[in-house]
Amino acid sequence: MTTMSTVNAMTEKDLNRNVRKARQQVSQNEDLIFEKSSPGKAAWKLAPLDVPEVDSAALLGAIERTDLGNMPEVSEIEIIRHFTRLSTWNYAIDLGMYPLGSCTMKYNARVNEAVARLDGMANAHPYQPESISQGALRVMKILSDCLIEITGMDTITLQPAAGAHGEFTGLLLVRAYLESQGNPRKKVLIPDSAHGTNPATAATIGYQVQQVASNSSGMLDPAAIEAAMNEDVAAIMVTNPNTIGVFESDIAKIADIMHAKGGLLYMDGANMNALVGKARPGDFGVDVMHLNLHKTFSTPHGGGGPGSGPVACKKILEPFLPTPVVVERPDGSLTLNYDRPQSIGRVRAYYGNFGMFVRALAYILANGPDGLRQTTEDAVLNANYIRKGLDGYYDLHYTGQSMHEVVFSDKRQAKLGVKTMDIAKRLIDYGFHPFTTAFPLIVPGALMIEPTESESREELDLFIDAMRCIAKEVDESPEVVTDAPHNTRVSRMDETAAARKPVLRWTPS
């Protein structure tokens, strides 16, 4: 076993002796844009004004602004270089596998970007007359129809801006429905394996969160739910396949339990990449669910967003959908219907992240029924291939049959002082983005791995090889792992110090 100082003395070559997927390359430094600014540089130019100039001081008086403080002044080439250099510091799907569990980092086809930028799509104003919005409405209608079919539900709203926003909308539908039945109820059941947005959303709507423990297999326990269920409970929020990547085989039974006592079954659709074309939530008892177009339907993550979180639901919830709703007129043209007296109201301005609808629909059209099914099959195959490849190297906390993702734990490595985050960081040296480490909470030290369908066997083999090498390093020289990453332009940041005295903006020194 090497010691800390040995690591320091190890040459780059030694450190990277097993790294097959990456090397190091010169990488440009770049200051903050404010540090490059100087008065008189400019990247802008306006067309000459074709109307009379105005005296802004006279028009605006005291509220006129004359100074924009520290806003930058730079030229166009400096902007191109600034953001190009910054971009080269990022990992991306376009560069390699992104095995973030629960995030479904799949290929983002460039045709989606191209069609979203067509004049009539990109430059359509949300309030332009419907007579010149038929193309946009058609996109919304066909996407809605496709998503309804894919989920097996009865109806849908595209308005929510992301998954969490969809959860909010979906739970509001539940609440409005129950209220219309006389009692909105008080609680929402949430498994301990759930993503953080589930409890956070329930709280936002004013529901108390009652956590339900997973059973020893990490699965929902119908008996426990039965026990927790009563007339105070509005709904249960289930992720299926769940966050350990396993299909909740008792899902229909759980639906029955909920329905028997007047509650509803909400499904977090983050893991729909395991089901599209193979099984439909509407068929196994789900009443309402959200989809993440930025996961399952390939719209790009963009460094954190934008997303889109449509909510599909059963007929009983339809009257409560947010306004407006796209409907077809007898002549086949489309219109936005605002006249929905029981609606929960709007959850955001306009109609949702329309640009993402275009991209998601382009994805569906590129796939068709056969492609969608094949995609799901490949996603599940890939996860199982990784599971097989890493079995014996990492501890499988729960052994249920994996679907689109597999969750290991750092149990073996933790004994040697190496945590999931260390392994994640070392994976960076091997040319990969790490897996998800932050959850599910039911797996201590989780390594949550979701390859998606977008990885070739070659890339998976490199990943498995890297993970095995790291397992070996943990045995032989754990400091190499706990000290990682070594090959990046910055090493681990002191996050504690950053949070203790947060510096959240640049100020001139």
Binding site: L32, A43, L46, D50, S56, L59, I63, E64, L68, G69, E73, I80, F83, L86, T88, Y91, D94, M105, Y107, E113, A116, D119, G120, H125, P126, Y127, P129, V139, I142, I150, A161, G196, A200, K278, R280, H294, P300, G303, G304, P306, P322, R346, V347, A349, M356, N367, G368, R373, V380, N384, G400, K425, A438, S456, P485, R489, A497, A498, L504, W506
Partner: protein, 441 residues
């Protein structure tokens, strides 16, 4: 399927490696009765050329090459080419939320720059990495004010964008947040007296106004802040036209500023994705929703950036989080950052000034045959006119010239009669404005 990097023989080899004989074995965990035994009824698989053609047809159905005199919270501005050139780089487009700082410094530094620019423009001390849009940012501001003040409820100006008020109503209703409205006076501004009285009656957490408001009128923020703060409430100011900050003083008296940054280089895209902004005072930062990038150093002392103060967020704090927001509008915020960088300190002001001049001209020419409402208070680039003809008809008339006219307001403010809300930006030609004035006649 052409996105899938596998041949059938790869699949067979992998199945063998996994130790199953067919792919369906991997789906056997799904109870048989729920396994779909048919094709989904979605359109057949298309070639890329067909997809492009299909959307091009939809695009044409949507009409192309329009001039907009329509704003109402979504504005048509020129988008510098560098924006799309840069945000389409795969390293920005196809990267995830920058949790792994060592390979996400590009996104992190850009967010830090975004936060800084938003602070500079709004006069606030901290800004987050983005919210979904201005409407959800507004309700988050109200909820945040509740956390900060320990009080409940808000008074919202009726001159706030009607759809934003609808969103607030939706959120408020189910959370038991009492929300009341305060009306506007003849000059289009908030009725400060009425606000003062309302504040005296109920100890609300927050007053929410919009400036420039829905009518394009700039509010007297200082006066409103005064009565609000006297009543112990926080003032949240919403800005739906970010360009206005180029020539209008920021609402520095506010406690929270929310904003729609769509005007900063983001396509109209039929209403989204846009970019909500939230900024506030440093002392409130721990009650703020959303992601924050902060400066940090590595062991070698090299400066970098990380997502910080995550204990506010759902993935750490779950039901006790400041908000449930997770995915935000990162790439759109990057567009806005690039836009702000292109125009910068001087250009943003000049751009705003052109907008001011264009709208002044448009209001003046329209005013010759219609009544321009809300006189006596300054406007930015929108104005309301009352016409003899039904605004819907005027719109139809103008559409033939590929000009999208003002928004009829009857639906939102029936008391204003045949009123409509018009907008002029640097993209509105004098010819279009003259044509509009003609159509109004």
């Amino acid at each position: 399927m052409r996105y899938l990097p596998k041949s059938d023989s790869d699949r067979h080899a992998m199945l063998a490696e996994v130790g199953v004989s067919s792919i369906d074995d991997l789906f056997s965990c799904i109870p048989a009765e729920y396994r779909l035994q048919r094709d989904l009824t979605v359109p057949r698989q298309m070639a890329e050329s067909e997809i492009v053609q299909w959307f091009a047809e939809r695009s044409r159905e949507n009409a192309e090459g329009l001039t907009f005199m329509l704003g109402a919270g979504a504005y048509h501005h020129y988008r510098p080419i560098v924006i799309d050139a840069l945000v389409q780089r795969g390293e920005f487009l196809t990267s995830y939320t920058p949790y792994q700082a060592e390979i996400a410094q590009g996104t992190l530094q850009a967010i830090f720059e975004f936060q800084t620019m938003i602070c500079e423009l709004t006069g606030m001390e901290v800004a987050n990495a983005s919210m979904y849009d201005a409407s959800t940012a507004a309700i988050e501001a109200i909820m945040m004010a509740e956390r900060v003040t320990g009080r409940s409820g808000a008074i919202v100006a009726r001159s706030v964008h009607p759809e934003h008020r609808e969103v607030i109503a939706t959120y408020a209703k189910y959370q038991g947040v009492p929300v009341s409205e305060v009306n506007f006076i003849e000059n289009g501004r908030v009725d400060v007296k009425a606000l003062e009285e309302a504040l005296a009656q109920s100890k609300v957490a927050c007053v929410l106004i919009q400036s420039p408001n829905f009518f394009g009128t700039i509010e007297d923020v200082a006066a409103i802040a005064d009565v609000t703060h006297k009543a112990g409430a926080l003032l949240a100011v919403s800005i739906t036209e970010a360009i206005s900050l180029g020539i209008i003083k920021p609402p520095a008296e506010a406690d929270i500023v929310t904003m729609e940054a769509q005007s900063f280089g983001v396509p109209l895209a039929f209403g989204g994705p846009y970019c909500g902004v939230m900024a506030t005072r440093e002392k409130f930062v721990r009650q703020m929703p959303g992601r924050l990038a902060g400066q940090a150093y590595d062991k070698q002392g090299r400066r970098g950036f990380v997502l910080t103060l995550a204990t506010r967020e759902q993935h750490i704090r779950r039901e006790k989080a400041t908000s449930n927001i997770c995915t935000n509008q990162a790439l759109v915020a990057l567009m806005a950052t690039i836009f702000m960088t292109v125009y910068g300190k001087i250009g943003l002001r000049e751009l705003a000034k052109q907008n001011l001049a264009k709208a002044a001209y448009a209001a003046e020419t329209s005013g010759k045959s219609a009544e321009v409402l809300f006189p006596g208070a300054p406007r930015f680039h929108e104005f309301v006119i009352r016409t003899k003809a039904d605004p819907v008809e005027i719109r139809e008339k103008l559409l033939k010239k590929k000009i999208v006219g003002g928004l009829p307001l009857a639906k939102y403010y029936p008391e204003l009669g045949n009123a409509s809300l018009w907008c002029a930006t640097e993209t509105t030609s004098r010819a279009a404005m003259d044509a509009a004035a003609e159509a109004i006649r």
